[in-house]
Amino acid sequence: MLSLKPLPPNHNPSLLHSLTPFTPPFPRTQTLKPSKHASPPSAIQSALQWNRKPELAGETPRVVVITSGKGGVGKTTTTANIGISLARLGFSVVAVDCDVGLRNLDLLLGLENRVNYTLVEVLNGDCRLDQALVRDKRWSNFELLCISKPRSKLPLGFGGKALVWLVDSLKQRPEGSPQFILIDCPAGIDAGFITAITPANEAVLVTTPDITSLRDADRVTGLLECDGIRDIKMIVNRVRTDMIKGEDMMSVLDVQEMLGLALLGAIPEDSEVIRSTNRGYPLVLNKPPTMAGLAFEQAAWRLVEQDSMQAVLVEEEPKRRGLFSFFGG
């Protein structure tokens, strides 16, 4: 779903300022490129943003864990698409698949044949960390690291520590620290979840507009806050505007009212997700872009700038097909 920022009533069009009521918790210490517009560093062009790249906010590397609690809501899809979007924006990204035993992130990215070493082999001394990182040929600033192969086991006790060492080692590597480290968290709230959230500074909670997912998401949010992660944003996935319109599904605003989290994105239900999984080609790379792909790109943008959605799209009356509708009017 597209996010557009409506102009406030007292908006002064001569000023370029952000409309976010939630000020970013971290000071902006780094920008990707100097903006062409003569605007203060903290300003974001209101309503529509174009002809500029997002300004990186927060301290790098930004370690983001993508979790949900409930399985099958789209964590891995979100990790893959947001990761590729960030890489396409020019940021260096390392995606870590922390699902011990059931890794899928390599499948979504089409890199399953190139995963030879995992973090387990690094811990055992079979390879170095840079040898275990799989660099995407399409975007050389995107790398993938799997925790373990399906039949291997991660030693008990220092699973979380291993990830902390991993993040620290990535910071110190010769080619420079990555700007984003995305951690694909496994489902549940057991040892895998605890391991995955250990090094994270912020979290993206993926949920769907159904009550079961919301209850699990609420619990996960509570656990994250207990663990000291305060910057938690929400992505509502698999939104069906037609069902929302018919009041068969909770709206995105209803979800937000239940969970009380800032909204990073609302991803519409899209059959192209399955096709992209089959191809091993992330959705955001489709041309022309799909609605879900656009929504992922916008979510990635907001993640970079530590921003959140100010308005959501609600379906209106159906489009009236005119005589020249096939011209795209």
């Binding site: 001394g125 960390l129 006790g157 520590k161 991993l166 663990d227 505007t241 872009p289 489009k319």
Partner: protein, 395 residues
């Protein structure tokens, strides 16, 4: 030198002559005909030739009217005839205030030239044009055919150009031995080649907030995407509501970060806080790990940036030691074995076949366990085994 300017209204083909009804000479008729062609260039009469013609005809007309000298002014380089069309004074064709003036800088101009005579002559010259105009009307119907023909031609040209470009690109890719092959094989990064090394990428950034497939309504409150119309609904979550939710969750979910993972059924150590223990189901992948990997060694392995990984190096050194030990044994055997010793050795083999078979199996089993470095299944089990260098010594 008398100057006369020829002013004509902005030209449109009209059946009625736009000029006063005066008699004009034949030369003037020719002059007007070609001037018509000049003003309204058609496919039959390109303007260039018309402009040259009008220049020559004007020269002749002026020379004819002003002087009796023949041929003197023909294509004379000294004469510059200027024909201007006063578009600022455009008037409807039916108006009577036309002015026809010919500007001439020729030195041969006679002071006796009469521009008004020209007007009359021009008007008389217009009348023969009416058949021409009517013939143009006849051909107006064929204009639509011409338009279609031109459209089809343009389309065919477009398709041909695109096909040509496509063929060119394909031939570029299919040409063997180019740098594209290196990129295809993964030996060269496509985004760091040549001009792309400076960070300029052929894949331009696409703004997700300014996508052409998303159309905004005039009031900026409606969005059209994929055939559906949406309206913007602002988010209503306030910071106060967020704080309320956070307090609710802190009361509902009290959780301590676990520092110890125990399998179900294990006893809790006495000095460990029960709240910090995390129970792992017996069938969980974490619970099936039996090995105790050295934490400091694992940390060192993660931080290693260069050189051979620890395990590979250890196995390589172990293999080298083993080979050295085997060579030493062979040398010793060759050195010390004589007939007497050989017989005793044979007896020992015959008397204790089982013990010798057990000795033979053990080193082979350890070698298999140590020679499969990439197998993750054996990684945890083999890591706990003693180093290979100890095996021959034990034997």
């Amino acid at each position: 030198m008398e100057m006369a300017a020829l002013h004509l209204p902005s030209f449109s083909i009209q059946p009625s002559p736009p000029f006063p009804k005066h008699r004009v000479s034949l030369n003037t008729t020719q002059l007007m005909t070609e001037f018509v062609m000049f003003q309204c260039p058609s496919r039959r009469n390109p303007p260039k030739s018309g402009s040259l013609m009008i220049r020559r005809r004007l020269v002749r007309a002026v020379s004819d009217s002003g002087s009796s000298t023949e041929g003197a002014a023909t294509d004379s380089p000294d004469e510059n005839i200027v024909v201007t069309s006063d578009s600022a004074n455009d008037s409807p064709p039916d108006s009577q205030d036309e002015k026809v003036l010919v500007t001439s800088e020729s030195a041969n101009d006679s002071p006796d030239s009469k521009p008004l005579v020209f007007v009359a002559k021009l008007q008389a010259a217009i009348s023969p044009l009416s058949p021409f105009v009517s013939s143009m009307k006849i051909y107006a119907g064929s204009h639509s055919n011409v338009i279609w023909l031109s459209t089809a031609t343009a389309f065919l040209l477009f398709v041909a150009v695109r096909v040509h470009i496509g063929v060119t690109r394909k031939s570029k890719h299919n040409r063997p031995g180019t740098v594209a092959d290196l990129v295809r094989r993964g030996q060269l990064r496509s985004d760091r080649r040549g001009m792309y090394a400076q960070g300029i990428s052929s894949l331009k950034y696409e703004d997700p907030f300014n996508n052409p497939y998303v159309k905004l309504g005039k009031s900026n409150s409606t969005v059209e995407m994929c055939g559906k119309v949406y309206k913007l609904s602002p988010v209503t979550l306030t910071p106060e509501e967020q704080a309320i939710h956070q307090r609710r969750r802190s009361r509902a979910y009290e959780w301590k970060r676990p520092t110890m993972f125990l399998k179900e059924g294990d006893s809790i150590p006495p000095d460990v806080d029960p709240d910090s223990v995390r129970w792992i189901p017996a069938n969980h992948p974490f619970a099936t790990t039996a090995s105790d990997i050295d934490e400091s060694m694992a940390q060192t392995n993660v931080y290693q940036k260069h050189g051979v990984p620890f395990r590979i190096k250890a196995e390589h050194e172990a293999l080298q030691r083993k080979l050295g030990a085997l060579q030493q044994d062979q040398k010793l055997n060759k050195f010390f074995i004589d007939s007497g010793n050989a017989k005793e050795y044979d007896r020992s083999l015959k008397l204790h076949p089982k013990s010798n078979e057990a000795v033979d199996q053990n080193p082979s089993g350890n070698q298999e366990g140590n020679s499969s470095p990439s197998s993750s299944n054996s990684s945890s089990s083999s890591f706990n085994s003693t180093s290979p260098s100890d095996e021959p010594q034990k034997l």
